[in-house]
Symmetry: D2
Subunit: 387 residues, 4 copies
């Protein structure tokens, strides 16, 4: 549990980081929403601010006057129990409020929360909500990176976001199989530090003997799968995956472009030649699974990943696991609007473990349970194998 | 036929007018595309500029160097025979090129064309293409108004575009039936002035005796239809119209809002109480037809409208007619890319006659044939009755 | 106007003809509905019977007891003002009532109407409705042929319907251009014989000089268009047509199959080699228009067709015209449910003139106005050229 | 492992059972496919027969001549690696081959397999495939019941299937919580008897303390949830579930009808008043989950169900569990076409345990893992609670 002083530092840093990420954008880049999974950057900036006004200032600052009555309506996201929300697919049609307005709104709310943290004596509950708000904003920082990448990378001009943002770190290590022995292991978050509700419910689980790779699958390895006809062999794919790759004509990871017979990749530094040694990224669970089938291997479960994670490096790619996203034993949904946070997504999604190069600093931990639908590829996703 | 000097004036005016229309916008307003029929304002500005570079500068300015090789790709619209085009529904996902870039592109092309008109001795053909380009841009000026209205009017904040833009002029005249006698009449464009290819083919037609109203149907009259259950009476509607109003839950003209039991209308001046005496607008052909059925009357054909038009005022609303959009006798498509201009739309659309308060000055004439699909409502459409 | 005795003959013949058409079917063939435009044969048999019970027996037979209360619900079609109807796309999901039940229903209603025609003294109004009912059933006889062809011809087994049904008569005549002089002509139905409401409103029209071909376009000619790349040349197509052929990957008329480099055609006699001299059929208006563009010619209007029709043979193909389906001058919708018959379809459809080899005998006349959406191909459609 | 003699008995019984189930149908009922999840009964009869011809007669009967070359094409289902298949949604459009043809095909194949079982000396492998074929056909027997129920129960005439088929057995027992203690348990199939590949991989798992109900949730209890506004309380539902109930306007279990203020249920015996004490059925996983949320309880995992199942009665409803369908540790896909059987569905589905009143006799066992997408309701699904 952070002290009020530590929280003040975290809050200031977090708010500044979001704005730093957006400092490379043109005004127009803040506005568009090319697909339903991507939100306009200005929406992320507004929504994370609305969160602090709605759940912190309205609750814990007695004399707080809303910055603008219309805010909640536009920037609420999936909190169905707090007022009306703008249907998600419409976000990209809203030219107003403007980007300038949103920065003013941010400054206003940031100042008010700082004032509260500096001058008020806040309850544990209030401190907790502010801490959640910071972590919530850090999640949106990762989405800012991936949504900006989608917006720029699907523009025919393929503009550079930031020529210094390196997204393809090479793993300088030989591939090895780490062995784990059968037995009872402990899973889940077990300290006073911050975590999400879905990590709680520290519990025992039984694992069979297994092996897990110390290294993520690389671009070079994935190319071998492609060249061996992996995308054309129905026996490697789930039935839904086969429909999906055929309907969408999927033949390579997302952001890959074959130009004059050489594979390139759109990155936040612009279009580049594919780095063979970098871990493959922007692939779906379906593709990770098909690759593993082709190798005669499999993906680890999230429990296997968590138990072994101290023995390998992780953090450049969110790693697909074989585990469906489900509540831990004894999981209970928090009351009220914040209770919608995680539980409502626990169906038809796969757990991803680790973190990515877009994950906000201090936001990764071994028990973190990320989750996405199995076909999604706009995140920095990758995978390691198990057997 | 305009002289080179007159054309210079027209060109300058036209270019300035487009920029004037956009001067009321925020940068963000230039970017979005809420529905496929609406284009982002920045696209209109770029596209009308691309037209002059593609069809004038590339053709008639010997040493012209393109402003940017990527332009054509992004700003081509429906000219399928000139290079690759950006699929129409993607226009609203393109944050780049930026608005600032487009204004620079405009200045560049405007200056080059002015230079040509001032210093070169242009052929008749070149002058004609420039004149077409001006009228093409005037069409986009009307679309700028209606697309901006859609963008702002479908934003939950309903911002004002320009508090001085009056879109609801009242017709100060008693309703009367104008009689026209059976006989042979002449139809179509018959002078040297500019017109589109679809107006040409001046020809004779035979009309039966008919009556046409001197006045457009008003909001008050349309409200009577609504209050009499017009939207619920299947016998008044075409089969496709009945499906359409039920699928989309249509119960009033577009931009109408019932607020505390009073009808309001979003206008370019913002949300206002409905003006009962103003001509009804933003209605589909289907609704105009159903109203006429309810009255035991009908819509005029485009020939009936053209023959009678000198005897009534028109110009505040595009007027739906009963005529399907089809080629006139002896119509021939112009050769080449400009030949795609009109003929390719001559199916499944209805002709509208007149002009609207959003029509560019000097762009209206009695033979003008506008056309839209029968369900579209984002234009300033209205109607008058015949019998 | 037919006498009661003549009507009795017409009625008996008509009822027997429908059953003759279906005598070649297996029970299973009566049930399916592969696309929304095609209705199951058993539905046609039930619907035409429901028509006589609903509009004749219920109205004019004082003591009539309904065969079954559930009938109307299942067999009503588009008469929105008479009770609830089964949504059209669900027709193919209804295994009950069975085919045997429907034949019993037919026998019951046929006998009752015969009884009425033999024993009662019917009013002019009653006689008219029975006559309409017969013509209504004749329309469904043509649909029975085309819907059966769709059901069998889209089955991978491609079964024969009737080995004696010849659908490809050759036109033994040289192609010639028939000239028609400019002037006022009379259009529409002008006798006491039966016709539909949409043919009434006999009226004058003015036609310019024109030429019309004495011969339908043949398979051989259409193949030339295909081989010249007609389906790939965007400039020949309407914008909506171009989308349509690309979305549906249309590259030849419907029912054509290229087998070992030879074109074949599925016919009601089964799969056959293409008859080069037969008139092309199962094409959309879009394809007819593109062919005409390619030839530098055009389709006739329905008025041009009607004025010239005495001078050429017609009747093997419904002929697409350039005319949109619209009311004739002074057209008024009949009152009541039968008034829904034609007027409600007068938007977004093209008129076809003539008749086809599937048209019921005594059902063709020079003023007949058939109509379909421009993309539909399951009817025996063809075209002749004009200039 | 069954002896060849025992297998002969099983085979004969199984084939006869499928035909018994269909003996209550009219020919037309065999043909239709109202939704993609439902197959026409004639397809089930043909497909289960094709299976024996394809995988038994072709492989193990040296001189076998196919009954008809077109068979495989029409009756293959999801075995993507064996020839071309008819796209699933088209099954309901195929009127041919006829029902009579299919029965002849069945007799032919049944006789040939019996001949093999009586006269040949079959390998273990051949015997195994025949046994799989019998169990495969038993699965289709359950689908025959549920698909027939869908076909008849969605017909507005709501015909009776079989007036003696009782689908609502009451559980004559008090509700009690069965306690299970924390510890390591063994899961999966562990004998020589037949089971599917997905049950193999007998393994240990660790369970926390839990309680599971001895009784399925009843109609009466589910009505309480409905009357308490369960379908309107967003906080009880997964995000995808909330979209689903709102898009499809779901307000009660499937086949429920409120008639004159009394709840009725369509059953295979026809429309009946709802039996309050019977276990609720035809509900989705989403509804089971929402009910559990409302009670402050949860669904069991499949491991919890399997460990406790000896202590309660089961078999009238397939019971939704919280477990996503995933491979057991050490699961390996069988080689070849039969290997497509289960593994390819292991994503986005939930496991159901137990059996239903439609399950074929001798087809239920404690380790059986059924699976469906969470929104599906046409099976006899129900649930019990855990905590």
């Amino acid at each position: 549990m952070l002290s009020q002083q530590e929280l003040l530092t975290l809050f200031k840093e977090t708010r500044a980081d979001s704005e730093k990420i957006c400092s490379y954008l043109e005004t127009e880049d803040y506005v568009v929403q090319p697909i339903v999974d991507v939100s306009p950057p200005k929406w992320h900036l507004g929504h994370t601010t609305w969160f602090f006004e709605e759940f912190v200032l309205k609750e814990y600052s007695s004399e707080h006057k809303l910055f603008d009555e219309n805010t909640a309506y536009v920037f609420n996201s999936y909190y169905e129990s707090v007022g009306e929300k703008v249907v998600r697919t419409d976000r990209g049609n809203l030219s107003r409020p403007t980007v300038a307005w949103i920065y003013t709104f941010r400054e206003f709310v940031t100042a008010k929360v700082i004032d509260l943290l500096v001058n008020a004596e806040l309850t544990q509950e209030a401190l907790q909500v502010i801490e959640i708000g910071c972590h919530h904003e850090k999640q949106h920082q990762e989405l800012l990176y991936t949504d900006i990448k989608y917006i720029l990378g699907n523009n025919p001009l393929m503009p550079v976001y930031n020529s210094e943002f390196e997204e393809n770190p090479v793993q300088n290590v030989e591939q090895k199989w780490l062995e784990v022995e059968e037995g009872i292991y402990e899973i889940g978050h077990n300290s006073d530090d911050f975590c999400y509700d879905n990590e709680q419910g520290f519990h025992q689980t039984f694992l069979q003997n297994y092996n897990i790779s110390n290294k993520l699958v690389t671009n070079k390895e994935f190319l071998e799968f492609m060249e061996a006809g992996g995308y054309e062999d129905v026996l490697l794919w789930h039935a839904e995956a086969w429909d999906w790759i055929n309907t969408h004509n999927i033949k390579s990871p997302f952001y890959w472009h074959l130009i004059e017979n050489k594979w390139h990749q759109y990155t936040l530094q612009g279009l580049q030649e594919l780095n063979a040694e970098a871990p493959v990224t922007h692939i779906s669970y379906y593709e990770a699974f098909a690759y593993a089938q082709w190798k005669g291997l499999r993906l680890p479960t999230e429990q296997e990943w968590e138990v072994a994670q101290e023995r390998f490096d992780w953090g450049s790619r969110w790693e697909w696991t074989e585990s469906a996203y489900a509540p831990y034993p004894n999981y209970t949904k928090p009351d009220g609007a914040l209770g919608e946070y995680n539980g409502k997504f626990m169906v038809n999604q796969k757990v991803l473990r680790g973190a990515s190069i877009a994950t906000s600093k201090n936001h990764a931990r071994p028990t973190y349970r990320n989750f996405f639908h199995p076909h999604l590829r706009w995140q920095f996703t990758g995978f390691r194998l198990a057997k």
